[in-house]
């Protein structure tokens, strides 16, 4: 009896482990790196190893795989061109070395230590997610390796005294502030805000930053409420919103809760002027909500319809670098058969910025590459890139979110339009939203 119970428990645990494995991401990246050092003479070509961990399994595997695909695409392109030229006339090509971190940070330090020591990675890209990135940053800094972070928006990583960690994403503190700017421009008399957010690190950071930004601008926060990650019934929260009668609702968290909240807000016919939620709205799948998706605003690190271009760079007085938005979108579609998401764009841009820094520094020497990155100020298909070099070293200060709104398109189908920042808009903000 006892033994049977033990066997039963053991089997349950084994099944549990298997179930926790999540789905295996198809790790299909067209790899041409590694053998792509064309015959430029052995003496004048080097191979740089870029090390990173990716979440091939676990909760972030979709986003992380796209990020990895983006990076791989850049690497394939640059290798196909023969690599990046250095000052001494040699050319460097790139090869990637990566391991699966299972979407958690248990092994991240182990993997990064291995990448640096055993695999001799010259430069690092961050894992996906702020938690794992924090853990990896300790190792990168300890070994004096430059790490470009992408897929990690947390601000706090950069207030910890690192000097070699550089952020590609707009930090969490600015995720929703632009939505408020858009609202302020379209409807200056809307002053009452309700902030409802998922109770996790990312969404809470975003909401706290939004709150202080809004209060600084004279907004009145009539409701500030967190909800649990696994919430499926937003009835009580919606009732509170109804009582508070806000002009605008901001907040959200991730895909699941964001779509559910949007749907239930629509079903309860809550009248509000403006609704902006994190993460969920930019996802193409959000359109499946149909009428409930209409009018919802969401921040995105990047959109295929973004209009960053060389002219905009010229008028801002900064350098333009890399492919155009259209070139990137086409190359990505050709390689992977799907429209690039901002995760993919971030991965590509992270590699590209690293390549640009090597090219401009003309060397692989870390202090010189670091100095180049510190001084970088340029526009590319992903947006404006400039790093903080003082109190929060490495924090992204150039890049801005783009804000999308689902608007009524052909045959009432929701279509995604960029409504902010002014320089990138494809349509005007519809307000009130429905």
């Amino acid at each position: 009896m006892k033994r049977r119970f033990a066997v039963l428990i053991s089997m349950l645990m084994a099944v549990g482990l298997l179930a926790a494995c999540g789905t295996q991401a198809p790790a299909s990246a067209p790899t041409s790196a590694g053998n792509a050092a064309p015959g430029t003479g052995a003496a004048s070509s080097k191979t740089v190893t870029i090390g990173f961990s990716a979440s091939l399994t676990g909760a972030s595997n979709v986003e992380s795989t796209r990020q990895k695909n983006g990076l791989q695409l850049w690497m394939d392109q640059v290798n196909a061109r023969g690599g990046v030229a250095l000052a001494d006339g040699s050319k460097v090509t790139f090869t990637a070395k990566s391991y699966d971190d299972e979407s958690n940070k248990d092994r991240v330090q182990e993997l990064y230590a291995r990448l640096i020591n055993d695999d001799k990675a010259d430069f690092l890209i961050s894992p996906y997610g702020s938690g794992p990135t924090d853990a990896a940053a300790v190792i990168a800094e300890q070994y004096g390796k430059i790490m470009i972070t992408t897929g990690a928006a947390s601000d706090s990583t950069y207030s910890k005294g690192y000097t070699l960690v550089y952020q590609m994403y707009t930090p969490a503190s600015r995720y929703l502030t632009g939505a408020l700017d858009a609202l302020a421009q379209a409807k200056p008399d809307a002053k009452k805000l309700a902030v409802v957010h998922e109770n996790d690190k990312f969404s809470t950071d975003v909401s706290n930053a939004l709150k202080s930004y809004a209060e600084g601008k004279g907004y009145q926060i009539v409701l500030f409420e967190g909800y649990d990650t696994s919430t499926t019934d937003f009835g009580p929260i919606i009732n509170k919103i109804q009582q508070a009668q806000p002009d605008a609702i901001l907040g959200g968290g991730h895909f699941q809760d964001g779509t559910t909240l949007s749907k239930q807000l629509y079903e309860k016919k809550l009248s509000t002027q403006f609704l902006a939620l994190l993460v969920a709205p930019p996802e193409p799948k959000f359109a499946e909500l149909g009428a409930a998706a209409l009018g919802v605003v969401g921040p995105s690190q990047w959109e295929p319809a973004a209009t960053y271009n060389a002219d905009a760079a010229k008028s801002a007085g900064i350098e333009w670098y890399g492919p155009t938005v259209a070139e990137f979108v086409k190359a990505y579609k050709d390689a992977y058969g799907e429209e690039p998401s901002y995760h993919a764009a971030g991965g590509y841009a992270a590699g590209m910025i690293l390549g640009k820094a090597l090219e401009q520094a003309g060397t692989l020497d870390t202090p010189k590459v670091k100095a180049t990155l510190d001084g970088l100020d340029l526009l590319n298909f992903f947006g404006h890139i400039k790093f903080n070099t003082s109190n929060a070293h490495g924090l992204q200060i150039g890049h801005d979110m783009v804000y999308i709104q689902w608007q009524r398109g052909d045959g009432d189908k929701p279509t995604k339009q960029i409504i902010w920042p002014a320089a990138a808009t494809t349509a005007k903000l519809t307000i009130p939203l429905r």
Partner: protein
């Protein structure tokens, strides 16, 4: 010994009888073998100075300390705790809180252990009255409750957690030095957990625990004060995970509720104990090192890295199906002469 009731595990009697007259060193060759293995593996990275290997062994030692502690409850007392990671997480949180307030690691880490011990004491009083599956379910509930509580507890940063400034490592001789330091402390802790496990197993107290495992009612009739014994077992199994938690998150530099109270990790701890052989001293060590070593190998092996979790899951399933007593348990069953060497 002779007048003791016979529910004592057969192994102990064999070991005891084989070596009553000799000193501690010769009396317990199994313990020394266990410690020697731990030391050799643990000192290998230090001797070679290979940091990548150190990180691999760090993960192993972490698991050894956790599994060995869990074994006191699971293996000796027979109580399945699905939520043991709660002690790791709470210790981590208390340690990080104190570290971020400027306290040194030497006080913060033991404080983490102490907090976990206190929690175990309070919980023990409440839920150790439950038996079997009911206890197992309650432990899951406690882990989830603790996660929800910390998620809403502002002094611990709520959902944002606690981060340490990189500068904190300079107080320990720089980041490189600090990571070596945590490694040595962890090695020490792993060894302490093994010695503790051995001492519990060979003590009268441990005998009482094993009596509870075999038949709780009978144990009570024979004079074991079961509520006290169980609470002590629970506390002993909680303290080291608390200290280890503080160390782990100190090394990581930040802590968040979802990292600290990951139920999946709890299940992995159970797997390690069962793989190696529950109720033995050597078993959890081998199970933990073997499990983490296997996972570490698969995740970095060019052949398996894309399917590593599926392979690991399949192997585990085979092992639990065919060697349910765990590696050490199986050896003890089939080679009785080796028992003195396999505590």
């Amino acid at each position: 010994m002779k007048d003791r009731p016979s529910f004592a595990s057969e192994a102990i009697t064999a070991e005891r009888e084989a070596s009553v007259k000799l000193g501690l060193l010769r009396r317990s060759p199994g313990l020394w073998l266990t410690l020697a293995i731990a030391l050799v593996v643990g000192l290998y990275p230090a001797l070679t100075g290979n940091v990548a290997v150190r990180e691999v062994v760090f993960t192993m030692l972490l698991s050894v300390a956790l599994a060995s502690s869990l074994n006191i409850l699971l293996g000796y007392t027979g109580y399945v705790s699905f939520g043991h990671v709660v002690f790791f997480g709470l210790g981590g949180y208390v340690g990080m809180f104190l570290l971020s307030r400027g306290m040194g690691l030497w006080l913060a880490a033991p404080a983490g252990g102490l907090a976990s011990g206190v929690l175990a004491f309070l919980l023990g009083k409440a839920i150790l009255r439950l038996r079997g599956a009911y206890f197992a379910l309650a432990t899951i509930g406690i882990n989830e409750a603790m996660r929800a509580f910390i998620n809403n507890f502002a002094p611990f940063g709520g959902p944002t957690g606690i981060s340490l400034n990189f500068q904190i490592y300079t107080g320990y001789g720089g980041a490189g030095q600090a990571l070596w330091l945590t490694y040595y402390v962890l090695l020490g802790l792993a060894i302490v957990s093994l010695v503790l496990s051995y001492l519990v197993k060979t003590s009268k107290f441990g005998l009482g625990l094993m009596a509870i495992r075999e038949d709780e009612d009978a144990a009570e009739v024979m004079g074991v004060i079961t509520p006290n014994a169980k609470t002590w077992a629970y506390i002993l199994s909680a303290i080291i995970p608390g200290i280890v938690g503080a160390l782990f998150f100190f090394k990581n530099g930040n802590i968040e509720p979802n990292d600290a109270f990951r139920l999946h990790f709890s299940i992995e701890m159970l797997v390690m104990v069962m793989l190696g052989g529950q109720g033995t001293v050597l078993g959890p060590m081998l199970g933990a090192a073997g499990y983490q070593g296997l996972r570490g190998f698969l995740v970095t092996s060019p052949l398996f890295k894309d399917v590593q979790l599926a392979v690991a899951g399949g192997l585990l399933l085979l092992i639990v199906l065919f060697i349910p007593a765990g590696a050490v348990g199986w050896l003890r069953q089939h080679f009785p002469r080796l028992r003195a060497l396999l505590p």
